[in-house]
């Protein structure tokens, strides 16, 4: 049972090479709603699997998890496809949940599940934005459309917020999750803590490159359909909720 549990956890809180399964599946899905559902459900199954183990993962598995997170963070730097980028970043973030579980940051399973949801939400939104950009431009590929800030200002505003949340910028749940994980890893495994911070740095680099590929550049000649004011307002409100969730979760994590 324990081996099966670990295997399930390694698939759903992806550890390399099991992580390839998620990324292959994610890339195959054409439908934005299906991708969004997958992003929400996948780590929750991992949290469930981890909960059934009834023990803390051994140290070597934690090193494996952080190595997976580092691998996908580095790989995301060279990715130009926003869909693929979302998958890589989600893989990198979810792998770090192993450490949260091991260091007792998430004292109860529901806290870990909440943390997983907090980490996943920006990716869910990104998956929706990928669908939207593909509809407008034919492909969500950095550098192809370019200049979204000029062409689709509202959509690019939401894209900026989503990428900022995905790279764990302050006040979103991801920020506090990474902060707590680093601080708790520090006295036990200082090398791992330093690696987590390096992963965070790689995320920022990767996020900045992705943003540049999409929003910067001259405006597209053909007129495009931007998000409506109501939709933009609702999405903006979703970010406010995300920030509030981050502040709330900080009380539990740190």
């Amino acid at each position: 049972m324990s081996s099966l549990g670990y295997l399930a956890a390694a698939v759903f809180l992806p550890l390399f090479p099991f992580s390839m399964l998620f990324n292959r599946l994610f890339a195959r899905l054409d439908n934005a709603a299906a991708r969004m559902g997958l992003l929400l459900l996948w780590p929750q199954l991992g949290v469930l699997a981890l909960g059934t183990l009834g023990e803390r993962p051994p140290a070597w598995m934690l090193r494996w998890a952080v190595a997976t997170a580092a691998l996908y963070a580095l790989r995301s730097v060279a990715v130009r496809d926003l869909g693929l980028w979302t998958g890589y970043m989600a893989t990198s973030a979810w792998a770090l949940l192993w450490l949260a579980a091991a260091f007792g940051i998430a004292a109860a399973d529901w806290v870990l599940a909440l943390q997983a949801a907090g980490l996943s939400l920006p990716f869910v939104l990104l998956a929706w934005l990928v669908g939207r950009i593909e509809t407008e431009l034919g492909a969500a590929y950095a550098g192809v459309g370019g200049g979204l800030a000029e062409t689709l200002p509202r959509l690019s505003g939401i894209l900026v917020l989503a990428i900022l949340a995905a790279v764990a910028s302050p006040l979103v749940p991801g920020f506090f999750a990474l902060l707590a994980t680093t601080v708790h890893a520090l006295p036990v495994m200082p090398g791992v803590a330093t690696l987590i911070l390096t992963i965070w740095l790689l995320w920022a680099w990767s996020g900045a490159r992705t943003l540049r590929g999409f929003i910067v550049g001259p405006a597209c000649a053909e007129p495009k359909r931007d998000l409506g004011i109501t939709a933009t307002g609702l999405l903006g409100l979703a970010f406010v909720v995300l920030v509030l969730a981050g502040i709330s979760i900080s009380g539990v994590l740190i």
Binding site: M20, N23, R24, A27, L71, L74, R75, S76, V77, A78, V79, L84, G147, A149, E150, V160, L164, S169, P170, L171, F175, L179, T182, V183, L186, P187, P190, A193, T194, L197, T198, W200, L201, A204, W205, A208, R209, L211, R212, I215, V216, G217, P218, A219, I229, I247, S250, G251, I254
Partner: protein, 559 residues
Amino acid sequence: MEGLVVIVLLLPLASATATHLSAPRLHRGSVRISIIGMVATFAVTTLLLGQTLAGAPAGEIRLGTSWGVLLFDPLSTLMAFVVSGISLVVHLYSVRYMAEERGYPRFFVLLGLMTAALLLMVSAGDLITLLIAWHLIGVLLYFLLGHDAASQSAHRYAAWTLLTYRFGDLPLLLGAGLLYHAFGTWSLHAIFAQLASVPDPRTVLGLPLAETVSGLIALAAFARSAQFLLHTWLPYTMSGPTPVSALMHAGIVNAGGFLINRFAPLFVTTNGVLHWIFFVGLVTAVIGSVLMLAQNDIKKALGYSTMGQMGFMIMECGVGAFSLAVYHLIAHGLFKGTLFLGAGGVIHDARQDDGVPKDDLYTFVVERRPARRRQPWLLMAGITLLVPVTILVIAHWLVASDFFQKQGAVVLLFFGWVTGAQLIFSTYRMRTENIWRLMGLILFSFTIVVIGYTLISHAFDLFLYPDPAFRSRIYAAAGINVYWFDTLVILMTLVVVLGWLATYYADENGRRWKGRLSLLWRGFYRLVARELFVAGLYARFSERLIGIATRLNVLLRWS
């Protein structure tokens, strides 16, 4: 008082939100809300500083359970006053300067958010709040520098800045984590109180805690204040709007000096860390100044000038002159902000007149201006060496007669000496009919500046660190063995004296050396003109990393 601290933070935040929300209806008129918000913020920070100067006791306000603590102490109120003042000037300047730009209201929203983040940083009373503000400043600066969404180069260098800032966030986070584990609290006040009560012998990974944490904090300060090897972002961010350059050089880049001052109670318990800070600051000051001289672009030259100034500020911290570093960052902020905001005008003037000095023979024959009258070089060298040091010693002695006991003060005296000497040397080379009159006026100005500087820095010392025992501890932490210090002082005096004698001699008889040195000089100039290849090396490193990532992606079939 507590309420005012919260209001100071909320005002720019609220005005930024109101500007954003009203932009669709009011369009460009929405920026008025931002301006009103900044005027109000500045008024409240002035009131806060006034209350602190009037002797209101320091304290803190707690907005959350584990974090969200805001301080009101001399350092936070002074810095809040400076930040809001500079931000107000930048806001007002931007009203017309940015009027033709796309995303005009967005620019003011970002300025307001940046002001709020800076104010949060200076008043943060716990490590988490400090980390949040520290991180947010980097993110907001990225968007301010990349305001022109059509400019690839602006975004490229904005991303470079973001990465350096994120690199600087990491040691601060590590340091915060170590402090939390050592003291069991995030509160700065509680940590400093524990540090003050007992000397801390704790170790972390076999290293002394205080030295390790202060080293990490210093590293975070180096990244934020563009110290050598972490400086490349600063001169390259000139593609951003000029008001952002002004705000960045006048306010944001100074954060390193602020951070070291905020952690002063930790630094006084360390042994040797301040010496390293001094060394890094010194190297940065020298390299920044040399690189500045080799630039032919005014904004880039200003960027390297800021690097040199930041080196000097960090160096002041390294010699234990913490409050002087705060005074320096304020003074530098004011003059550098002015220079940036005036850079456009200078460029305009340069198009009318290049300002390149004409040949002596040309000015004498064609313009009928008097030829330069040279005084004996040995006499001038003697004046150059003796007059500034006499003024400096008398001014310092009048303010604090025991200043010779403080090694830091003596080190800084050397820099004042060299600066004063440089001033007289410049006078010596100027074309004037009556050099003594000009020199008299310049020396009078120098005396006024030195006395003013000495008095103000002393006042800063008393305001920021009123406890004389604590002030002595700072200098003691920065001090070195007296024997070695005296040896270094003698050595430096010899270097300065011989250096100026050689400079005057070379100015008089320089043509004889020119041929022999020109090859060496050209090689050095090439190296400096290419900015020591540091930026190129980083670019190569990042390209290599991207190459590795691409190969990995291909190898793993993009999954």
